[in-house]
């Protein structure tokens, strides 16, 4: 068995999901590689120490540059806020480390392109954590599409609805609230939520050609937790866009944090010539499937309880009928990444794949400003 020493940067929500993936992996997946939680890194030392204790990291760093400089680290995982991704990733790549980076890849496409160049030049395995691909029902959707069951695709629609920022009294910035700070997050729902929807869409439905978007910031000013002052809110609270895919299908995308009644309702639906599929994150263990080739009087949407041994990943867990949850997607992602290493196979979404999502986000935000259709930049072959 080969050992991979992990250095994780960031002790927040995503730091926890990544740590958990490492802790659980070996109990369920038999792989050639085994990861070791070598070091946790956070500028807040106290927090880092507590985190190390909880998750069993062997050491603590407070400067990510030192972490990257350490020779005993093989894999850098970036679970820091978005504005740090590029700098860390480029440095890690130069140091020859493997990298798993939280999504979105970067603050914008320009940064993202630099990151792609860095990892490709260094030739290091790299992955961006669009973890929803690894929800068993979503992977099943991918398999059904790849098998051609849907036929020609006419429509794609996705939403990611939340309601946690409706109160005017919620401050922006600092700690868990950095997602409301444009300087740290880059954008609001576009990079945080729609990026997930876009990644899945590109994976399931291929390239997107152009988009036409609108954004809105419902609460214009909020107290900033770091400065203590009322400051202008720079992020998009809501974003909706129309899109056209290269395969001729039409799409609508929408995300907001002002949809009362929805905590994290990521949904997508795909309508094909022969069949349609739909999924949502609030019942992530189910896939809805309609097949027009069923006998006429028996046609209906099937609610597939994706918990059987022959469903993606599910043979590793319990028995049919017993759900897994959100966190398992990170375990699956890590398992796939390590299996890719063992088989010398690239596991997506790579930085390059995530750059495509970044380019869509850029086009969306541009269109929201111009009020026009904007083309999505194509990814050039890296040199």
């Amino acid at each position: 068995m080969k050992t991979i020493n992990v250095g994780l940067i960031g002790c927040g929500f995503m730091g926890r999901t990544h740590s958990n993936a490492h802790r659980r992996l070996g109990n369920f997946f038999k792989l050639e590689h085994q990861t070791v939680l070598k070091a946790i890194c956070d500028f807040n030392e106290e927090k880092a120490k507590a985190f190390a204790l909880t998750w069993g990291f062997e050491s603590v760093e407070t400067d990510w540059r030192k972490l990257i400089a350490r020779e005993d680290i093989d894999l850098i995982e970036i679970a820091a806020p978005n504005n740090l991704h590029a700098e860390i990733a480029v440095a890690a790549a130069k140091a020859g480390k493997m990298i798993i980076c939280e999504k979105p890849l970067a603050m914008d496409g320009k940064q993202g392109l630099a990151m792609v160049k860095a990892v490709e030049k260094a030739g290091v395995p790299n992955l961006v954590s669009y973890n929803y691909r690894r929800i068993p029902a979503v992977t099943l959707a991918k398999n059904l599409i790849d098998e051609g069951r849907l036929g020609r695709i006419f429509h794609y629609r996705a939403k990611f609805l939340q309601d946690w920022t409706i109160s005017k009294d919620l401050p922006q910035g600092g700690d868990a609230l950095w997602r409301l700070d444009a300087k740290v997050a880059g954008s609001g729902v576009t990079g945080d939520l729609l990026a997930h929807c876009i990644d899945t869409a590109l994976w399931l439905n291929g390239d997107m050609d152009r988009v036409n978007a609108m954004t809105e910031t419902f609460i214009k000013e909020r107290k900033h937790n770091l400065t203590g002052k009322i400051e202008k809110v720079g992020i998009d609270d809501a974003c909706a866009f129309l899109a056209r895919f290269a395969n001729g299908s039409l799409a609508t995308f929408e995300s907001t944090r002002y949809a009362r009644g929805h905590k994290a309702l990521y949904t997508f639906e795909i309508n094909g010539e022969h069949a349609s599929i739909a999924w949502d994150l609030h019942d992530l263990h189910r896939l809805q499937y309609f097949d027009h080739r069923d006998p006429g009087i028996l046609r209906g949407w099937r609610s597939i309880h994706v918990t059987d041994g022959d469903h993606p990943y599910m043979g590793k867990w319990w028995v049919p009928g017993l759900q897994v949850g959100y966190e398992h997607s990170f375990v699956h992602q890590l398992a796939d990444f390590l299996e890719g290493l063992a088989n010398n196979k690239t596991t997506g979404p790579t930085f390059r794949d995530a750059l495509a999502t970044q380019y869509v986000c850029d086009a969306v935000l541009k269109s929201a400003r111009t009020g026009r259709w904007e083309k999505v930049s194509k990814i050039r072959q890296s040199s």
Copy 2:
């Protein structure tokens, strides 16, 4: 076109559903026979007159014996309280009238048997209004079973849950509340609600051999609306029973008027070797269907929106996707009855069929008293 003159007895809820069926039939179904609303009969003359005006009955009677004596009446419809069914039906049969009788057939099996003998001796077409058979989704269920899609049946379960009598202040007896008066209704939920469940079950799953039941009256005394006094409540507020069918399947049945949150939730589910089906009255336009022969990874319960032109009865109404409602079941029932007349074909449930349901009810109520398994009486060949 042949004309059938109808004499309807009873101006209550069921009087309305029957009248509506006649009024709507000709607009949607092309049949050899046409019905004419000749006379409405109710002991309350004022009520009968208003009813006649609303529904277009040509005349009013206050004595059902006079109605039956009229030579211009071909078909007697009995929508009077349960305690009147037998006397009216026997008289109508002797007078050579066709009869459509509201369910349950009678106060008990003894009465029911007399009714069966009367109509069979007279040779008059007869039908009992177990209208749920004619909900398109329920008829579809019957067709799927008859086609053998389910294979050997292992389980049948049905419930009919309501919550309208929970308040202690609700009186019993009189007008719309006769269903709470044991002397008029015969029983509580057993005859009112479980009778529906049993009729469907016998239709879909064949003969029932024996039952084991319990009943309960949660509110022991209520004011009686006719006497104005507090009287003991004689009906069963709730009834649940175990059953064994002749085909070897096991069943559970339950009904209550004390299930908070359910207005008229009649549900059934049937589990077969190859497939299962489920239905409920609160979404009566859907049928749930699971087929084990689907490819493993794609198995799931299908929600069939029973609104297509090739679904039972639905070709007569609107276009796919547009629901019909509760009342349409009575239109379908009438259409089937008239079509049977035209084709000289018996349309069920006949009085004889309904007697089988009555015998189950009798056995259920007996078992609730004895605390034992009770055999369901077999229907002897009529002489």
Copy 3:
């Protein structure tokens, strides 16, 4: 009781829904006015005669001008294809007839404006049949919004999905297929389906300011049933648009006839500061409601079975728990119109209200051509 003599133009699907409304009205609603089915008009005489027989019209006309000229006609109902609405309506208004017109109001806003001017000049009661407003659950939604239960509205989203034109072999034009013929229908899903979504939205959420749309015609050529030739398809098979309302809320709308698995899935959802509501046509008897003011641990989407006596219109029908269907919306519409006459109260949507919807459709189709945000024309005060 006052009698209103009806002349109905058109024997198709909508001719049936309108006729049915008249036939059923009096059995359930007690109103000052009573309608009489005086004449049915269709250029196809044979069809008109059969229709008259089925529905009980007293006479048949084959020329709508003759019908309008008849002095014994009080109310003209237009259930003819879209391209005839304007000419008929203007003539009927001039003749002083009341008018109920099928939706969409016209082929475009220009025609629609002429119609508005005509009815307002003539001072005749007028209504456009956006019947979904009168589904009890939709009316309940309106009431909840008017009571202020949702607070400030952030989001509106609506879809109308069908799948009946996916086959390339489906011809266009003629009879029931006129909806596929741009010259007769004006547009495809925009006028046929989105118009419904827009009408509801304007009713529930107020004025729409601007839109940004895309349309697509997936099958470019189809055989035309009238010419027998392969002709270019002029309608939009699919249309999606972004919108901004005057109240500051954002919206997405989408319609298609290429969404496999959906027969007539009209859905809308509205997210407010305090509460959200959602509805869909495939389960039209339910309203989904989420209220943030519920105790935290008990918050959830409520599925309201809109069948109680105190729910809109439902006191007229059966008992709690028993669904009504699609067709009832037309009965409710007619009842409201007649009640308006009796009370000298305008019942919407009037021609003027429907013109607002038409202007949105025009802006949508224009935006689909220009690729830009287009303002929705404001309705000028009629002179």
Copy 4:
């Protein structure tokens, strides 16, 4: 921090769920006690060694007596087949070990009583793993009932439906199939599945007085994997029973492994005077709640997505909207047990609590034989 050394007996499905609970606990719950996976015990040494490697047990035993004799073991966890529970538990109690035992407690009440006496005499902390109590939605249900939100309870109904033994070719006995072998399992669905339903019911609804049951074995003979011969099947494939609770409520219970379409559908519903609740294992993260005290027009079943920080246990995991799964119930159970130790508080279900469930199972199986109502034995005060 105090250390508790664990000796786990059994490497099957339940061995895995228990091991997983220990492995995950410390990452999410901050407790005074910490468990150490000291030893795994299985008569199959090879299997035990592999299991130790996967889950990180420090040592391996093949004789449970030796394990119990080890002084370095504080807590014995019994995840062995049912026929071994009593002997192991009594020995462990005598050795002064804490015990967590898989459900059902024993083969029958007699065995169970001996176990209760043993642990109570020894004064050792003891728990039976009825893990479904610790699904957050189920715990929420308990809290709602304890707060009195439902008022007087009228009805309780529960089912546990599976479909994995329908094929005649499935053998009985040996390894994962011991649940089909009456000599090892004690009973079929009664002890395996209904025991779960009964435990929850006693917890939520109090004592059960008497029951009336039927059982069935659909496939009478199966090949036995250990003998290689066709042998009579001794277990119950299906069991349904009626019950009366001490609080006056009526209940129905049903379980089967022949319900096509259901993998592990455990459902319960409770109807109270004011409110009702419902839950099912296939969507374990939701609780259905209906409150009659809501305003009339807004009453409906709420689907509560039990994933908020103030929902039971959920503050320990991720963020609102993100589901946990089946396995988490074992983590919660272990956390509660350890917290009980720290606070010197008994955590249920104890052996004594589980004996009550056993007595219900005994009465159910007896009633299935006698065909009569059977009283449920009361638990005498232990001496």
